[in-house]
Amino acid sequence: MKRELTCIICPIGCSLEVEIEDGVVKSVKGNTCIRGKKYAETECTAPMRTVTTTMKCDDGSVVPVKTDAPIPKEKMFELMEIVNNSVAHLPISVGDVIIENVFGCNIVATKNM
């Protein structure tokens, strides 16, 4: 089976052509770097996404946060629910872990508050 993808790793956005056999990636064409090949392989087997969002702080403001590693794509909305039901405590510095170990990653702050 052939699958066409757009690589999302960097702004170049290479068009990838992936050959899949029995759920295993046999070949990747169109990538300009090794990261594109890796992306195609995970995208066709277990797609992952980094999520960025905001979280409520205890003074009513919001702090931007991100997952410090990509999480399974199908868990994005569950992660949003966890973040939206949590409150971050001020003061916060860039890189502070706000929630530990959600779907194999940490939620970290991306701004000083």
Binding site: L5, T6, C7, I8, I9, C10, P11, G13, S15, R49, T50, V51, T52, T53, T54, K56, G60, S61, V62, P64, K66, K73, M76, F77, M80, N84, V94, T110, K111, N112
Partner: protein, 411 residues
């Protein structure tokens, strides 16, 4: 008298300040309208910034913080909440803030780094009523990411620029339903990766060659009528379709904010709406430089920082009174290449020339002609209006000529 005044503290302003500082200039002042440094990056909480500069994917606030940390460590002075009202041709800046009232500063050199603003609904002439619920994508982004408010629940987005795509994902993650992204052109103005991860990931339809033809609703937006457009971008009546929605986001282009540049007598390029500059990003006024989105709208902040460093370094050299032998080479384009930055070369050194194309072209060669003779070529499998291109020209090309022509040729 201040050596260097920088208007704006976004990625361009901070990067220019740091470059000037590193080139030995200490008497610097940054003027910033907002109450924090960083410019628009503060609300761009998504990742994808800094891959070129830092080799890692940062969010907007993180990218800005890398520069703010340096500005603070270098003790470069800045004034927040400060609005520049006027810049005169002899480099007197009139500004105002709560603390100082209205004040004037005379500068040896000025770097314009005011960024750009979004094209508004008024520029689009959409028929219908004028209800609440219509926002520029950037305004919605500020509401959601800075203020923590959702502007609506059922959304249509007009324009497929990157901010529109990013907001489609952002609103979806926060629980809104994005019904469609309509794009007037037959191609998207956004990056391919954003169509993939912001639309396709969530099953949001991208309707190319479509536009919003009517707005409905009295107090609040109740829906929009969209239609397909023909090759002359005129709506086809029989393709009209009504979409119920409470929010319309506009992502229909960015315009460099050059009111101050005009008052200073800076000549603007009609295509970029930014200043006409040389390889140092110096405008037609000696000692006034421009960089970042006020000069031309960039796709990637990494390139903004790079350009601002050129301006900062060059301003430092100007302040120190360094003079290089000057030449005068203009750059002409063929229309398929819409514009170049810089638009002119005034010193004999290697130069990266950035440009944008007018349409999607495949298998093309960027050719540079000097006195009718082809002196440089670069092959590209695909070029698109949404993606800035560049070529590196070595200084030999500039000898014995006063004009270069950039052409896009089919292979």
């Amino acid at each position: 008298m201040t050596d260097l005044v920088i208007v704006g503290s976004g990625p361009a302003g901070m990067s220019a300040a740091i470059a000037a500082y590193e080139a030995g200039i200490r008497d610097i002042l940054i003027l910033e309208r907002d109450n924090r440094l960083g410019g628009i990056l503060g609300q761009c909480i998504h990742n994808g910034f800094g891959l070129h500069r830092f080799g890692e994917e940062l969010t907007g606030p993180e990218y800005a913080w890398r520069y703010e940390e340096k500005v603070r460590a270098m003790n470069i002075p800045f004034k927040l909440g400060t609005m520049v009202l006027d810049i005169s041709e002899d480099k007197v800046i009139t500004a105002t803030n709560e603390e100082d009232g209205i004040f004037q500063i005379k500068a040896k050199a000025i770097i314009l780094a005011m960024g750009c603003r979004e094209r508004s609904k008024g520029a689009l002439n959409i028929a219908g009523t004028r209800p609440a619920g219509i926002f520029s994508a950037g305004t919605a982004q500020k509401f959601v990411n800075i203020e923590g408010y959702m502007p609506g629940k059922n959304v249509v987005i007009l324009g497929s620029g990157d901010i529109g795509l990013i907001m489609a994902r952002r609103m979806t993650l926060e629980g809104a339903k994005v019904h469609a992204v309509c794009e007037l052109m037959p191609y998207s103005g956004g990056l391919a990766r954003n169509i993939e991860q912001c639309l396709n990931d969530f099953g949001i339809p991208l309707k190319l060659s479509h536009t919003v033809v009517e707005i409905h609703g009295k107090e609040r937006l109740t829906g929009v009528t969209i239609a397909k457009v023909d090759e002359n971008r005129r709506p086809i009546p029989e393709t009209k379709e009504y979409i119920t929605c409470d929010t319309l986001l506009l992502s229909v282009g960015l315009i460099p904010e050059n009111e101050l540049s005009k008052s200073a007598g800076v000549s603007l390029d009609r295509v970029t709406s930014g200043a006409i500059v040389d390889q140092d990003r110096q405008t037609n006024i000696e000692g006034i430089y421009a960089c970042g989105n006020v000069l031309h709208v960039h796709d990637l902040v990494d390139y903004v920082s790079e350009e601002a460093e050129i301006a900062g370094k060059s301003a430092a050299a100007y302040i120190r009174g360094e003079k290089a032998e000057s030449i005068s080479v203009g750059i002409k384009t063929d229309g398929k290449i819409r514009y170049t930055v810089p638009q002119k070369i005034t010193q004999n050194k290697d130069v990266n020339v950035y440009f944008r194309v007018s349409d999607v072209f495949r298998n093309v060669t960027v050719a540079v002609y000097k006195n009718g003779e082809k002196v440089f070529t670069k092959k590209r499998p695909k070029v698109a209006p949404g993606e800035m291109e560049s070529v590196k020209l070595s200084c030999e090309i500039f000898s014995d000529c006063n004009e270069l022509e950039f052409r896009l040729e089919q292979n």
